[in-house]
Amino acid sequence: MIARVFIACMASLLLSPCLRADTLDEIKKRGVIRWGGDEEGGAPYIIGGDDKTRPAGFEGELMEALAKKLGVRPEFKQCDWANLTDLLRGGEVDIICNGVELRKDRVQSNLCTIPYFVNDLQLLARKNDGRLKSWADLRQPIQGDKWHIGVLTDTAAERFLKENFAETVKTKDYPGTTQAMDHVRDEQLDATLTDLMAANTFGNRYPTLHFVGETVGRGYFVIYLRPGNERLRDELNAGLREMMADGRLKTIYDKYQIWNDAQLTLVIPEVQQLPDQMRGGEERKRGWAVIRENLVTLLEAAGMTVLLSITSMPLAIVLGLLIALGRLFGPAILRAPLAVYVEVIRGTPLMLQLFFLFYVLPWAIHSFVALPDWWNHNFALIAAVSGLAINYSAYEAEIYRAGLQAIPAGQMEAALSLGLTRRQALRYVLVPQAVRIVIPPVTNDFIALFKDTSVCSAITIIELSKQYSIVANNTGAPLEVAAVTALLYLAMSYPLSLLARRLEKRVPAINA
């Protein structure tokens, strides 16, 4: 019943924007066109300034020019790049414009303008890496392993590699261009495939990297709109054509040093007709057919979620118990540092800790030691498991501290009076009792950790939430995918609750 209500609510949320009238009249009436993008992408796309609603960057300036043509003011709305199409669908913004590529699956559920930028992809690798000098080198596996190449999640670069180099290349999903470049520099990755523009803009920050091979995978940036906004699209197209014709577009691109000969093709009719061509063709799969097609990837991602949880939680528990024992019974010299550890770890977000482990630590270590390939290639998983374990160890430490303190002092005295050492008293008398006291809160934490594994998508791990977001964004069945994902989560966490309930009832045997 609750599920049915939930689905009904979701459906109405998803459908409501489609029922709206043409947005153009609304925009003119309110005098503001709202557009979505992700400031985190930074230069040269969108560069935040004092006025959060009027950023600079070539897309910021493009929007200023287009809004002026409509006779309104642009208003920028920040959103995580990966969720921009959701933002558009939700009706928060009128259009999205932030390096979003022209793509078949997107034009089938959205309208879009003519291309405003020609985007080529460039491979970046280390200058001193003799193994990788051309695209041909990528055809050969290295030492029995695939090449590890960083890409932005769900971009043309990822698709290009998956379509053309699936046998010899493993793509790693990054939330930002420079983070992937960092990891190429620090030898966590073999190379990164990125927009030529980004490679040009950020390349000079990385003197040890260079361009490898010719540009590939030509794509086009377009502005997306909700369906039914043909009039708004036509006005935007007119504005873009005008800017191409009178050189204003080139002026903006020159200012950000992103103009190249490829941009000359923007005015060719074949290029401008691309969106219409893409709309045709076979109908995209919808509904449960999408689930059938993606069930295996979703299950694999669920497997990653389980793997992260069941490896990190035991580590967190052991670490937490040791910390609690150290704080309560350890030498005085240990107590202050352990208290600081708990406060620092508890007081900072998991996301930040994962970022530190994954992006900052390798950079610091890299200059001192060369780490083996297996370490580098599994580093995301290592960082995710240790990050979760460290983060939760602080919480477990506090739980165990409370558990140990709840045991009457007489227990320790009785154990000592028998002649047990303090260590024995802790191991055989206090800790077994504390374990039982803390089962409910620890289970609670386990379920929380289980869901917190989704944060690991920030460091290239693809677990269930991330996979959901990818599948939901790329298919015409967000509702079905959401339902299946929710079911998978429930199917994993409910047995945990049951197990915990049984553990609480059962009193484990003590080997004393």
Binding site: E413, A414, L420, V507, A512
Partner: protein, 244 residues
């Protein structure tokens, strides 16, 4: 066997023990009586090394306990002196038999096979042979205290200290426990018992010490203390006990 001399202990500025001297011979049963707050329990806890003291000396057999003992010295001492607490302090996560075997297995390093027959024998001795595999929570207070006595006996201490062993029990259960202690006395187990059970002290103890205000007011054979007390403190205390 146990020699306490000039023992002083403060809780902050409050003097709890003010130069206590006392000795217990091997095979002797000694009782400590006296008004509450007189330092009886504190003295016992000092002898077992559960509390530190500032001055004086405690000697058990040939082991000397200084005011700053190290862990190893304390452990040795505790193997010679067992302790039974007012609140029993059985280990709730172990069965009755496991409680009793805990000391032999962890301290005397016996295997389960070695420790079990002795554990069963001790529990038989305190009348709990049919409760071997019960959890402490399933037992009455008197039964729990008898398990605690068996647990203390299991490591074969030279002496056992009892800290008000029957104060948390109703009279029927108290009698069960006192019967066990009386039985031990017949077998010449050295014991030092802090108690409010005057009848028991008179019947079982050879020596009775009266403690008040952190000092030993009077020591002597049970007969003499109860029937011909020499100090005002003892007389007043016995009067109070009688009228209450």
């Amino acid at each position: 066997m146990i020699q306490v001399s000039g023992l002083c202990k403060n809780h902050g500025s409050l003097a709890v023990l003010k130069g206590v001297c006392m000795s217990v011979q091997r095979g002797e049963v000694a009782a400590i009586i006296g008004p509450s707050g007189g330092g009886k329990s504190t003295l016992l806890r000092c002898i077992n090394g559960l509390e530190r003291f500032q001055q004086g000396e405690i000697q058990v057999d040939n082991l000397k306990l200084s005011s700053r003992p190290d862990g190893e010295a304390l452990r040795k001492l505790r193997q010679h002196v067992g302790m039974v607490f007012q609140q029993f302090h059985l280990f709730p996560h172990m069965t009755v038999l496991e409680n009793v075997m805990c000391g032999p297995r962890l301290v005397l390093k016996q295997s389960r096979a070695q420790a079990e027959p002795e554990g069963v024998r001790l529990l038989e001795r305190v009348g709990l042979k049919d409760k071997l595999h019960c959890k402490p929570e399933q037992l009455s207070g008197g039964q729990q205290q008898r398990v605690a006595i068996a647990r203390a006996l299991a490591v074969k201490p030279d002496a056992i200290l009892f800290d008000e062993p029957t104060s948390a029990l109703d009279p029927v259960m108290a009698n069960e426990v006192l019967a066990v202690i009386t039985d031990l006395a017949k077998h010449e187990q050295t014991m030092l018992v802090v108690t409010h059970a005057m009848g028991f002290a008179e019947r079982v103890a050879q020596t009775v010490h009266v403690m008040a205000e952190g000092q030993v007011a009077e020591s002597g054979p049970a007969d003499q203390i109860f029937h011909a007390p020499r100090t005002e403190v003892t007389k007043r205390f016995l009067m109070q006990v009688k009228t209450s």
